[in-house]
């Protein structure tokens, strides 16, 4: 049994990691931290986890790291850099924050508004999209979880850039995301009354996950790629749907996706012409990608649907942790989606 700790266990991604441990045969939960809730039982913070046998929440400085093999770090942006820097070097780390996603310190500073506090770690971190960096992740000490929106766009686009079947200068990502991505912090903007029964775009043209698209798309294309990205908030707890408008030929695009994901356990390419629902991946680690031709020749829509708390965050993190710990990659992750 590998022994894990979860830092920041009082947020939604922390809770989701714990949910996954309930049916994971290879992990033992050694420590859970949440500074403001230190001393509390998880059942007080998340009553849905009441049936699990879990340690009480502690403060990070009170964790005994001997015997912990891997830490999931689900802390806020910026805080994370200082915390991870202070962890024992022997500890493997799967981070779920934004702090280690961008390899270039200048790009980080531009999008996040301050110098990085652990630039050496930033450069050592592996970008955690398993399907594209599997071997590096297996060998990594520190994996950076991707942005949940970024993950959705990347699953739709990277194989197309690699295969050279779309125009890299004309990619528009219109994304619809559920609310849990905003976390559990109390904010007026994510009250039920402000979200239910409507839809709106936010951070239009300047969402921070755009920087991940720039980095990963450019890497895949072997040249600089800049896309247009507009996220929208929809009244759903979970789920991200990326609708990507590209130029190319639908059959070639579909073939590129199908080939790229042919052996992937969690990425399903739907038949050409179908469009995915976020409901059909809810609660699972699956991604559904698909392709539909527009009526206009040369215009194609590519879709990707995933659960932001799973493949967009905690499921992805668990998949990477399995690799880093030498466990079977899909262990604890094969639950089917929950519908309705």
């Amino acid at each position: 049994m590998a022994r894990i700790a979860i830092l920041g266990a009082s947020g939604y991604t922390g809770a989701e990691l714990l949910r996954l441990t309930a049916t994971h045969p290879g992990l033992d939960v050694a420590a859970l931290t949440a500074d403001r809730r230190a001393g509390a039982a998880m059942a007080e913070v998340f009553p849905h986890l009441r049936a699990l046998d879990l340690p009480r929440l502690t403060r990070i400085e009170d964790v005994d790291w001997s015997g912990v093999d891997l830490a999931f770090c689900a802390l806020p942006h910026a805080t994370t850099q200082e915390v991870v820097k202070a962890l024992p070097a022997s500890l493997k780390v799967v981070d779920l924050s934004a702090d280690f996603r961008l390899r270039d310190p200048a790009v980080y500073a531009e999008w996040y508004g301050h110098e990085h506090l652990a630039p050496e770690l930033q450069q050592a971190a592996v970008y955690g999209l398993t399907e594209f960096n599997r071997e590096e992740i297996r060998a990594a000490r520190l994996t950076a979880g991707t942005g949940c929106n970024a993950a959705a766009g990347i699953y739709a686009v990277i194989p197309l850039l690699r295969a050279g079947v779309v125009d890299p200068d004309d990619i528009v990502i219109d994304l619809k995301t559920g609310v849990s991505g905003a976390g559990r912090a109390a904010k007026e903007a994510t009250l039920y009354t402000e979200i239910a029964e409507g839809v709106h775009a936010y951070n239009v043209g300047r969402h921070r996950h755009t920087a991940e698209f720039d980095q990963e798309f450019s890497r895949a294309a072997g040249r600089e790629v800049r896309c247009t990205f507009v996220p929208h908030l929809v009244p759903a707890n979970r789920g991200i749907l990326a609708t990507v408008y590209v130029r190319g030929e639908a059959p070639a695009i579909h073939a590129a996706l199908a080939e790229a994901y042919a052996d992937e356990p969690f990425v399903v390419t739907l038949p050409l012409g179908e469009a995915p629902h976020t409901r059909h991946v809810r609660g699972s680690n699956y991604v559904h990608v698909s392709v539909v031709a527009d009526r206009r020749p040369g215009r194609v829509m590519v879709f990707a649907a995933l659960d932001n708390l799973m493949k967009g965050a905690s499921g992805q993190a668990m998949q990477n942790a399995n690799l880093m710990l030498g466990l079977p990659e899909t262990q604890g992750l094969t639950a089917a989606p929950m519908f309705p």
Copy 2:
């Protein structure tokens, strides 16, 4: 007092028209029809209308047309053609179906799969987007309500094509719509359990409202225009948000919208850089349009938000009926949006 009839009063658009009559000082409801519910009181079909003093539902053939000035026709597609053809020629008609939206019979046949049954009426009908066809509507005998999705896209795009500030060959409309647009008929696809807590695209690249974009965009541009259009269903009773990706300069695009709608009572141009919420027009006849520049030069997002049952259907119909009846255009339509 003008006397109106509503044909097809047992659907959502019929009910919405009745809701509007409750505070409309100039209208008297003379007749309500619903073939399958003939004989029923409206309170049985729509308990929320219980407090209104309304005639019982009848069959169309039992309506006494003498003394009826205007009929709202909220019947299904195709049926409508035959019904409207049989109405007294002296009766003004505001249709809410798809039957009279497309002026070209060949285009109609292509998108709807059969020859039009009343081609002479089809050509006489005025496309009911008040802001662009006000004087023709005032003089019309028959007004064709627009598709609710079409309305949203048109408010965002027509002024831009007229002003020549966008590239007409690169317009992508990504639209998110609430569920009431699908009507009250029992279908598996619109059950609560199939819609709640998720999002998906439907009729991708082949939604019938596309034909309205073709017709109206081409007319506005003075040349053939074909856009890409993908609608998505979101879990909300009401509301449509059109996110339109265009090429041009944001300030010029914003100016074109602001100028086009400067004197319009129901179309509000938000400050440059803001994005609208469907919640902020819910239940009202208002449209919020806005413009945000992308980080990529020459790329711009244009938004339009409206309530599909109001400005997208029954509110638009009432606004047109006011014009056709010589009543003040905004009468009965100035209620503020309902939020939350």
Copy 3:
């Protein structure tokens, strides 16, 4: 035109009052206050009110009270007492907080945990349930808006106690309420993610509106009455459904309600055996009450459905303000419910 001010216009009940003024022919909005948002336009705080011509938000101390006839006070509990005490004696006040609902200062102190700061006003205030205190409200200087939950229970029960058709010692009120009653303050407990897709009871057996039941039920029965009251939160923006379990005979109970509300413009008694939906009063000032006999002889369910922001708060306040200002009681309040 009567001139009104709204104190606390940045909350949901303040916004709802403003929504009502949009179609109210007899009111002029003279001042709007919100201390933390002073200086802002209402469109910044509530974009759905953008189309209304409204004064900017100010601080209370900056309001010029000369020429203001009536103030709606939509401030938090406790603050209200001090604010209202300081208002000009000539100003009529309709309060929407909990501060003046309980006539007995000892009861107030018991339920709210501190001595009342304006006990003389507390005793002068009229409990604002229009149907039961119409003449006192007409003559009042200060009207106390009822608790929204309390309103729902009271509409179902008071006529039964007055008519003596139920056992006053066996009243159980199981209530389901929407989320907007919790206000716009950012709280973890009312985030979308914490509310959507589930239901739970809160403040079980100790909700503060219980004190209003005690006061009003005892007054109606002419003896002490104590009921059981359990509120539940359901995922809906608006709406309260009270399911009240009583002992008595259904026909007599139905007759008591029907008679009590026969001439009321906003309270509708449904036919015996029907049960109301909150959706059917949404956005309106209507209350639907109804009665269903249990299969067990002598057991009866009584229902009341209303919109918590309307008849449970701002609609009720407007109805009372109309009376206090000598305007027609229903002015600005006759909009039909919005469904769906």
Copy 4:
């Protein structure tokens, strides 16, 4: 590996059974039937199950029963009786319909409106609430799944009647249920637009699950017990909350529940004074029961929360199948609830 068939696999309970098989190590899916969808792949009927390796849908008459150990029967009421009667006698059957819940044929006929078509099976069937009938279920050939509402009420009440700590003549069950219990058939009443954003009571005082309360409560009390039961529909896919009003003393009631469920793997008794959320059992086989004292001496509220598709239907069925097949009772059922 035990081999199972699912009859009626195109409905929600059938899909939920399949979801459970994905992580169940002891079951092999041998056959899936759905008469109207025979020939289809499950991915066409339920795209969320696309990643599972499942047989195509067939018609019941085409199933080869040799080698099938147990059939889950998720067919509509009445049809079920005829189907089960025709199944091989060697086949174990876990039924999820209403057909075998009521032991007394006269009671069945009274509540369901027709004579039972398989009265001998009706009497042999074991009522499938595992916690109360574990040994009989282990030995049964045919287990009758309980009503989902009935299950919720029974978990709250049976231990209290057995322990004699409540007045059996004064039990009121006010229940709130999600929409998936109504199934996947297209009905106007369960459209998104008819359900979202509101709450209402249905089948007031005459819901068929009442007959299960009568049967099981009377059995537990050793005398005739008749309760009052009112179900309400809330906008949620899953979840049932039963709020039960009883007379007794809270500590004794809490002790009775805690003792009854002390060794149960899926029933959790919350600390005295807490109230459960349906969200906290979503997607899992857990039941949360709890007790809160009313302010009125001798009055107590008892709560039970469960997921109607899990412990209220398919999870319960799987738990019983495990027993009938000699597998570990909790196998495939230990997934933690999904929140948010």
